[in-house]
Symmetry: C2
């Protein structure tokens, strides 16, 4: 049920994803929803977003650890999202963003899960920048910027049905990190 919910949220967002569609897509018995998720749709969606963010967290950890420099890690992230956008006909970008835009201002549980997911990704990037020699405060600033730029590019790729915004953002982020690189 969590996987079916995550897939629907990723493609169409919170409001369009009805409980009946979740039950139909998951094949779970109807009564099991409120048994497992007494908080209803909001609780189910919170858990589904947590689950949907896990592959991305694992990818980030793997790519950041393997890349010789933080700039090189950008390529791994772009390859992941580029593949996902292309194979889904631009239906799947960031698994959190649509729900964040629809619900974070009004739903406290969904605000909490979206915000903490983004904070986790930002911390991973900041830690890798610190390892590369950036002062911790500067690493946090650059990680925040990189996350904004990539999230915006993913949205614009979907709006334009094109991978160009993501490729351009990756190239500029690489240049920016090189400009800002601390002198050893």
């Amino acid at each position: 049920m969590l996987d079916a919910t995550a897939e629907l949220l990723h493609r169409q967002g919170y409001a369009a994803t009805g409980l009946n569609q979740i039950i139909a897509d998951s094949g779970a018995p109807k009564g099991s929803l409120y048994f497992h998720f007494p908080g209803g749709k909001e609780e189910l969606v919170s858990r589904a977003i947590e689950r949907a963010s896990e592959p991305l967290t694992e990818l980030l950890e793997r790519v950041l650890a393997a890349a010789p420099t933080p700039e090189d890690a950008i390529d791994g992230v772009v390859a992941y999202f580029g593949g996902q956008l292309a194979t889904s006909a631009y239906a799947k970008g960031c698994p959190v963003a649509t729900v964040a835009l629809e619900q974070a201002a009004t739903s406290n549980p969904l605000h909490t899960v979206c915000s903490s997911t983004y904070a986790r990704w930002q911390q991973l990037v900041a830690a890798r920048l610190a390892t590369a020699g950036f002062a911790p405060a500067r690493a946090a600033e650059l990680a925040s910027f990189a996350l904004s730029a990539i999230e915006g590019a993913l949205m614009l790729c979907r709006a334009h049905r094109s991978l160009d915004p993501l490729a351009r953002t990756a190239a500029e982020l690489r240049r920016h990190l090189q400009h800002e690189r601390p002198t050893p």
Copy 2:
């Protein structure tokens, strides 16, 4: 009816915005919807997004024309969105983004209106960068990057209920433009 639709889309997106709510909020007679918008919700939303994007296009034109440098124009954009996010309790960021994420992959009319709105904003920024001395191709690249970064920051401000992502993105974009500034 267009204004009521634009306000609802801005706060909650496409799927959550029902025709009954639009009619209630606008005070328009029910029969007038399909008279004025024979294409139904999709046509009404397309027109509402065009209208909602106009104040932002005008702001961009004004700010870009008045700013002594392209970097200075960033402050005007940030002040506009910062005020809007704060006074709406983070319900209102970019008036196009939520619908773009929800609908651009599946609805051709909505993809067209979202894509052309973003293309227009990007062209305005690119033209200002070209006036500041960037080669046209480079100006277009930097404009694409700036749009991605600001759109992502607006989304993250809503997710975190904080203005920090926008302030950080503005500061980094300013630094990036200064690094990339063509030598006279």
